[in-house]
């Protein structure tokens, strides 16, 4: 299954490289070329940009956006971009900055008009208020970068992108405003539906694998009481696991939320000892084949959460 997807990806990418070598078609010439670091931002840019833009994401939806292997085609994509949209808050710090420097495209360098940092438009959680110290554990010094998992932030980012696109292509400003209006309406409708589904479970306690879900949890009123692996990539200490299992039993926590790219061994063993369920939520559009846009991402996650809570009841 996975190797199939990988092979398909390779073929697709090879095709893109070949296609990129050909002269640009007249029809693509007028479109703004947007490159995003993640699929979620690509989905948002597509919502407001419609058919006036051409959007490509560098990371795939099933990849951990902290770690992406650089390929030659990424440099070509960046080279040809009119606009680069990033998550920011150091999420892509391990791989994107050298590629942006190397691609030699002055339009999308940090600080240039073609560099769009979405985090400046979103509501950011977990911003350290005091000086970051070692005692605080694994803290993102600029705040939690998984902020797109709140539909309100999706809307805020969409607004920012619409404004940016209107500046870059003033002739299409009315079109982008219309797209944004429709996006806002559809978000409002969808939020009603998601709120309705999640309403019975407001205030429920959950454990998450890592600090990736504060925005989703806050938006739907879930209470994240602890983490399986407080630091990404470092196996939890035995003392932490004992404390976690004790806490889950005491406070009757029945759900552990995990991202798809982490190993399930530790969460499964914690679940086995506490009678909890491990739920693999999707953090990004494209993580599963059917999750093709920003709305389907929340549909997918909300459905999984509701199923897990129902089973726990």
């Amino acid at each position: 299954m996975k190797s199939h997807r990988v092979r398909f990806g390779i073929i697709l990418m090879a095709a893109c490289v070949l296609a990129a070598g050909l002269p640009r078609s007249a029809d693509a010439a007028g479109k703004l070329k947007i490159v995003t670091s993640t699929t979620d931002l690509a989905a948002l840019a597509q919502e407001v940009g419609g058919d006036r833009v051409e959007v490509q994401s560098i990371a795939r939806g099933y990849q951990d956006p902290h770690f992406v292997e650089a390929k030659p085609s990424f440099l070509l994509q960046l080279r040809r971009a009119d606009l680069l949209i990033v998550v920011g808050l150091q999420l892509e710090i391990g791989w994107l900055p050298p590629l942006v420097t190397q691609c030699g495209n002055p339009k999308i360098q940090p600080g240039a008009p073609g560099y769009f940092d979405s985090s400046q438009f979103a509501q950011i959680l977990e911003i350290p208020t005091a000086q970051v110290t070692r005692a605080m554990g694994d803290v993102h010094p600029l705040g939690n970068p998984h902020y797109w998992l709140d539909p309100q932030n999706g809307l805020r980012i969409g607004q920012g992108i619409a404004q940016k696109l209107s500046e870059m292509s003033p002739g299409d400003a009315a079109y982008f405003a219309e797209r944004l209006k429709s996006f806002r309406q559809r978000i409002a409708d969808a939020e009603k539906r998601w709120d309705e589904q999640m309403k019975p479970y407001r205030g429920w306690k959950v454990v998450t694998y890592h600090r990736s879900w504060p925005n989703l949890a806050t938006r739907f009123g879930l209470n994240v009481v602890n983490y399986v692996e407080p630091r990404a990539g470092i196996p939890p200490s035995p003392a932490h696991l004992v404390e976690l299992i004790g806490m889950m039993k005491r406070e009757n926590v029945k759900v552990i939320l995990v991202e798809p790219y982490f190993d399930l061994k530790t969460p499964n063993s914690v679940a086995a000892q506490t009678g909890a369920q491990v739920v693999v939520l999707l953090p990004s559009v494209g993580g599963e084949k059917e999750v093709t846009d920003y709305f389907k991402l929340f549909d997918y996650d909300v459905n999984l959460l509701v199923q897990a809570f129902q089973a726990a009841r």
């Binding site: 390779i10 893109c16 390929k71 070509l76 691609c103």
Partner: protein, 293 residues
Amino acid sequence: MEILEFLKWPLVASLIIAGIHAYLGVHVVERGVIFVDLALAQIAALGATIGVLAGLDAHSENTYWISLAFTVLGAGIFAMARSRHAHIPQEAFIGIAYAVASAGTILVMSKAIGETEHLKDMLIGNILAVSKEEVWRTAALYAVIGLFHYKFRKRFLLISMNSREAEAQGISIGLWDFLFYVSFGFVVTRSVAIAGVLMVFCYLIVPSVGAMLFADRIGPRLAIGWTMGTLVSALGVFLSVMLDLPTGATIVCTFGGVLVLMFLVHLAVHHGRGARDLRGARSAAPGQELTRE
């Protein structure tokens, strides 16, 4: 093609790496310390991690000096660990150093705040993102180390190929081993930062092994090794563009594939008797030191 412009510096970088590593690889294979580069790279990473723990930026000058200090320390350990009577194989010490340094890095990371992404990056490397300045700085460093090795080549080669003879001539094995591992550590730390451990390992070992399939004398072995390193770099970068695969990993697999081809040619050419005429590395036949004619 537009893409060639981007690949110019990665290709130049891999050619520079191929140049010095194919030479150092001859020493490493002769000495039978195959994994010494992994161990030194890991020790350097441990140093950098401690720098980050102390509150330094992962890419700052000071972090680089700390990781270099650790490399020198590692070089000292490996120089001392050579036991004259082969009582304990040196490879054992190298393995232990690697395991302890890796685990130490994990422990230090568990105490550091954030920024662990950087440190994983240190051992993975990203040849595609190498900058022109990095390439020049690396070339200058390797030129200095290359000159140093060229000046003392007789001594280094004698110790690598026949340490007893070197000792009989009154050469201080401990001192020259230390100098060898320090210079080697400089090169490996730099190369790993650019290309990552897997690629550096291949550039070090595969050309040397490939050359030994066809030649015994150092001159021809170096010539074959350099040719192989250069051709595989170019082929690997080309394949990575054509198939759009991660460049480093593609080069590593190309090395593997080319070595298999060379082995098949070796079988065809040296079938039977001929192959046995090759003496191979000293490290492949412990206790049977070569005498130089």
